[in-house]
Amino acid sequence: MSRVIRGRAIVEDDWTLAVEAPARSAAAGKLIVPLARWRAERAALLASAAAVGVLLPNTEDVEAVYPLLADRPLIALQFPTFADGRALTQAVLLRNRLGYTGELRALGDVVRDLAFWLARCGFDALVPRPDQDLQACRQALDEILVAYQPAADAHDPVWVRRRARAAG
């Protein structure tokens, strides 16, 4: 079983990415399926799997498809390369605009030097690229502890902090 960084911990991954339906009915487990499969096989997946998460292409309009995803325990977003930031906007919208509270997982070209940006945009699970050192990736989540602007994490905007400082 591969490992995943969840929260600030490195844990065994209990989810399986199931891009296509298996030839024979798969062992029950926690499956991450592409959005197209989720649309087509929703009832069957819910009946057979222990849990179902959904993988979105980074070109998907998350607001439009959110009704299909709102009750999912996990949404996986993709980084074809770490410099392709489309999934960062998807994550921010899921967290801030749509109020999604389940696991938000980053898949693909997930490297140590992307971890900090992922954490700020609301990802709470990372599956790093195979060549990456997991400990280093975990530490990089908090690489910079100061932020100017709000995102999908706990940082208040700097102008709000300065208001408080001026007041008190």
Partner: protein
């Protein structure tokens, strides 16, 4: 001048250490080249012809003496004794060594300078009016808004990995001195019925497809600056093309969608932000703007009775001072003060270059004569914005001694140019040699004064860093059969009358280009209706045809003649 507080300093310190670790890993072979490339670009490091180029952001073109002294030390320690001011008001170093860059950045951070997002597909340094705060046509000082936006976009996690670079340009005046509409987004700060707001343009950009930004919103209310910026950047991040680097700027989205659909997308996102909790956090309160405005308050001007002077006597005795006074000094809105332009276009110098000794001299001069501050301009010169009339003659003498008083601001030899083939890995043709050819041709100041205001701009390749597309005379270097050739465009302008220049015809060879420019000048002097009609006004009235005939001499047109 914006002063860093503990938050700003700590953020910059942690960022500098982040890059130090990335560089260490790369040099130790622990970080693949392709991964490191993305990281170094976002710290201002661009691979050039001979060495990495380090671009240092100068936020909205504002510098102070401590920063200039530090630049002098840095170009001596880490480079070859000079730096280069760019068309985006930044400073570039051409010879740093990668292993020393983390130390260099740490030295910059001590004087609140940095290279964050100076290159790469992110939000770049914000440019602005170099006369902000002193221009007599100013409606609102744009600098507090520039700094509020600078902080918003700095290390913004959602917009750190954009499809392509994204540039903001600001003005708060009626004359656009920052080429704002050549930016991906232009923000014009203005008043309507007494309330401050922003007229926003989107989709400008030079390079292969030069376009001017189009108006997206005529009046975004003052508290909504960051919301509207967020709406633009989010729309770009979602819909900008990532399949072709040449089609990745936001201007391509606008062109492919058409302005109505594009505007609707931005306005819809803006409306969603505005009505949500996200909007609440982004909304600026009057106290936020007031606090930021406090960083840019006017310097302690002295009464006119103490600083005003009649310099006509000095000018009458010294014609060189008179020429400088006429060409490099402008009116100031405070009685008794003047705005002084520092020319970085001396003979035998690459446009925009500044030596360590000049950085030091400028530090000293701005401390002595201009409240410790200096501005960099869009056309690669510098400005001492608040000089007392009584000190003009003394200041001129010291600028002259430092070769910073060439009286050519806005004239033929005030050429804007990128570094070209001599330095840049992208360039197809040299620029510095051509500027020298043109310089020699018009070395006589009388000839330049006869021609009057003109903007000659030159880029060594189609990426257009020298802004050739918006020059009255634009020169673009191209490679043909391994030789350097030059295409000429006419009629471009970066200001409130912004226009993209029109290509005249076939390219000229290296040894023809200075002659060609001279023939264009002669044509103008013949064609102009009177001495007051400038080159660009004459071109707009007379059209391209007579200039085309002049450029190519007796040849018929052109494309058939091209090799």
């Amino acid at each position: 001048m914006y002063r860093y507080d503990a938050t700003d300093r700590e953020l910059l310190r942690q960022r500098t250490e982040q890059f130090r670790d990335q560089t260490r890993r790369y040099l130790a072979g622990q970080l693949p080249e392709d991964d490191f490339r993305q990281l170094r670009l976002r710290n201002g490091l661009y691979q050039q012809r001979h060495a990495p180029m380090l671009r240092i952001s100068v936020p909205y073109g504002l510098l102070e003496s401590a920063q200039l002294r530090r630049m002098a030390r840095i170009v001596r320690t880490y480079d070859r004794g000079y730096g280069h001011f760019t068309t985006r008001q930044n400073i570039q170093l051409n010879w740093p060594r990668l292993e020393q860059v983390p130390d260099l950045l740490a030295e910059l951070a001590e004087v609140q300078l940095h290279s964050i997002q100076a290159c790469g597909n992110d939000t770049r340094n914000i440019t602005s009016d170099y006369l902000a705060g002193v221009a007599d046509d100013e409606i609102v000082d744009p600098r507090p808004y520039c700094e509020l936006l600078r902080q918003f976009v700095t290390l913004h996690p959602e917009f750190y990995w954009l499809p392509r670079k994204f540039k903001f340009g600001f003005t708060g005046a009626t004359v656009d001195r920052a080429a704002t509409r050549t930016n991906d987004a232009a923000v014009h700060v203005l008043r309507r019925d007494g309330a401050v707001g922003y007229r926003c343009f989107v989709g400008g950009g030079l390079g292969r497809l030069p376009l001017l930004g189009q108006e997206m919103n005529a009046f975004v209310p003052e508290p909504d600056l960051l919301m509207y910026a967020c709406a633009i950047l989010r729309t770009f991040n979602r819909f900008g093309r990532r399949d072709n680097i040449h089609k990745a700027r936001i201007k391509i989205v606008l062109r492919e969608w058409g302005i109505e659909r594009f505007r609707a997308a931005i306005e819809e996102e803006y409306a969603k932000i505005r009505s949500s909790a996200e909007g609440e956090r982004l909304r600026l309160l009057p106290e936020d703007i007031e606090r930021m405005r406090g960083h840019f308050s006017a310097p302690p001007y002295r009464p006119a009775s103490e600083v005003a002077a009649d310099v006509t006597g000095q000018a009458a005795r010294d014609p060189r001072f008179a020429a400088w006074l006429k060409r490099n000094v402008r009116a100031h809105r405070m009685p008794g003060y003047r705005v002084v332009f520092v020319s970085l276009k001396a003979p035998q110098r690459a446009p925009g270059d500044c030596t360590a000794a000049q950085f030091e001299a400028l530090a000293e001069l701005c401390d002595t004569y201009s409240f410790g501050e200096l501005r960099s301009t869009y056309d690669q010169n510098l400005v001492l914005a608040d000089v007392a009339e009584r000190t003009l003659y003394a200041l001129w003498g010291r600028l002259d001694a430092a070769q910073l008083a060439t009286p050519n601001i806005g004239l033929t030899t005030d050429i804007t140019a990128c570094p070209g083939l001599d330095f840049c890995g992208l360039a197809n043709a040299g620029t510095i040699g051509v500027t020298q050819d043109i310089y020699r041709r018009f070395d006589s100041l009388d000839a330049q004064y006869e021609i009057g205001p003109i903007r000659i701009t030159m880029s060594g390749c189609v990426n257009g860093c020298g802004h050739h597309s918006v020059g009255h005379i634009g020169i673009l270097g191209v490679a043909k059969h391994g030789e350097e050739w030059y295409q000429v465009t006419l009629g471009g302008s970066p200001g409130h009358d912004a226009a993209i220049g029109e290509r005249v015809g076939r390219a000229l060879a290296r040894n023809e280009i200075a002659d060609g420019v001279e023939r264009l000048m002669r044509a103008y002097l013949t064609l102009r209706s009177d001495d007051d009609e400038t080159f660009i006004e004459c071109y707009r009235r007379a059209g391209i045809a007579p200039f085309k005939s002049a450029l190519y001499g007796s040849e018929s047109d052109s494309e058939t003649v091209a090799a």
